[in-house]
């Protein structure tokens, strides 16, 4: 490898920057186009229904499993501390707070991005490289209203609903682990949750889930629609899509956390 001159290094940075800017701009335009379709609502009812079913059913099992394990891990990690201070009454609070506000939405978001986001990119990307999107345009069907809006609705709504399910399962998993590992009875765990955790904590987490849902929908659709280059291109798009989703989840989480305090 030859040494890079400062100029070359700078131009490489510039190229990378332009690439990111292009993607961000593309996503913003996509989001705008999708939102515009809601005023007045223009969408394909059947396609939306089909997507809701597909997204929900496909990701429900994995969300439940992840949430159960997440709740359990949170209890294990706070276990040593709780045992040290003999503060068994705080276990429900510690695990519950962490799960509802942070770890729940993040873990469910990451899983959802892997399951649904990656699948969305792969599907749209395949349609793109096999010219199906152009075929739709040739039939005077707008790909945005026909393909993207239903997926957008399905992803955002299901992410929101599944986070509610996930939060509940995580608490169950936490309570069970608390009983097995630390001998904290589920009723003590529950009362600790009820006493210390405010509704606001739940809503905070659900708001995060909503924004993560929007991020996953926009990112995965954008990378799907800009795929080129056959089978290799589809793989590359899926890779970019899940990576961008993960970064966005953490960045959005930080800003929401710091602004809402």
């Amino acid at each position: 490898m030859q040494a890079l001159s400062p100029f070359k290094l700078l131009s490489r940075f510039g190229a990378a920057f332009m690439e990111v800017a292009l993607d961000v701009g593309g996503m913003a335009v996509l989001l705008y186009k999708v939102i515009r379709c809601f005023f007045p609502p223009k969408l394909d009812g059947m396609e939306t229904w089909r997507n809701l079913y597909k997204v929900g059913v496909k990701s429900a099992p994995i969300v439940v499993v992840t949430a159960l394990l997440t709740g359990a891990i949170m209890v294990i990690q706070s276990g040593a501390l709780v045992a040290q201070f003999d503060a068994f009454g705080l276990l429900g609070w510690g695990a519950g707070f962490a799960t509802l506000r942070e770890v729940g939405p993040i873990m469910i978001g990451l899983m959802f991005s892997g399951r649904v986001g990656a699948n969305n990119t792969a599907e749209l990307g395949t349609m793109k490289v096999t010219d199906q999107i152009d075929a739709l345009r040739a039939l005077a069907i707008d790909p945005i209203t026909y393909l993207l809006v239903p997926r957008f609705i399905a992803i955002v709504l299901m992410m929101f609903l599944l986070t509610i399910v996930g939060d509940l399962t995580a608490l169950v998993g936490g309570a069970y682990t608390g009983q097995v590992l630390l001998g904290v009875s589920p009723s003590l765990f529950a009362s600790s949750v009820i006493e210390y955790i405010k509704l606001e904590d739940l809503f905070n987490g659900l708001f995060k889930a909503f924004t993560f849902g929007v991020a996953i929908a926009v990112v995965s659709s954008h990378y799907g629609m800009t795929t080129s280059g056959g089978a290799v291109g589809v793989g590359r798009s899926v890779n970019n899509s899940v990576v961008a989703s993960a970064v966005l989840i953490f960045v959005l989480d930080y800003f929401i956390t710091s602004i809402l305090h």
């Binding site: 359990a72 899983m111 892997g114 990119t121 792969a122 096999t130 793989g235 899926v238 899940v242 953490f250």
Partner: protein
Amino acid sequence: MTKHTQAYVAALSPTQRRIAQLGVIFVPIVTQVTEILRVGSLAFYYAFKKPIRWREVVQQSFFIGNRSLAFVMIVLGFLGMILIFQSGFQAKRIVGDLQGMGALYLQLLFREFAPTVTALMLATRVGTGIAAEIGSMVVTEQVDALRMNNAEPIQYLVVPRLLASIVMTFVLSCVALCVAFGTGMFVANTVFEVNVATFYNTSLLEWGDLIIFSLKALAYGITIPIIASQAGLSAFGGSEGVGTATTMAVVNASLAVTILDFVLSGVGYIFFFS
């Protein structure tokens, strides 16, 4: 379902049919797990057999590191700030004292967040990368061409990625730990006015934390490339097949990381921390 199976299912009683339907859920899971174990055991068999393509191992390590360093640093940097934000406000409300925060945070980073979140990120970045690469090679018959030339695909493709991933997952977890601790310290200092020297407190660290950290990094480093390679090798069809394989890789790898995290955290708690 084929016609044959349909006729068979129609002849069952309602209870039997319900039991039979369980197969629809479990059969794919069991076949996939056995397939992953098969690829894994073959990879280990060849990892201890000559020749190993060391140049390829180095190149793959470079790819993994180069592709995911910035990604892991950004994510863990933000995670560090988030964690300190949340715990700082809670600690202030309930305990009222923030002096011990740094020590606890460092312990939690070692035991949980640094290795696990890094692994989740590698599952998305490296996992999809490996699955897409091997998957495209399968659908364009390159894997068949390897076999025709007596180059066993698992030895030729999977082993270098496995060895590279074991090393790089550990290295990246260490980087992640430093970054997350650094950004956490920054927030603690600027928002909660905790002194840097107070925050940097290693008094709670034990050997157990280090062992759990290394065990987790090792386990994740082994699991991610094997699961991703299996997903790639099972690709069929054209671009659609590659898409399915990459999706399968992220989901399976992230799920495996979560399950391993649960098991290893439990083991750590029972052996070291209770």
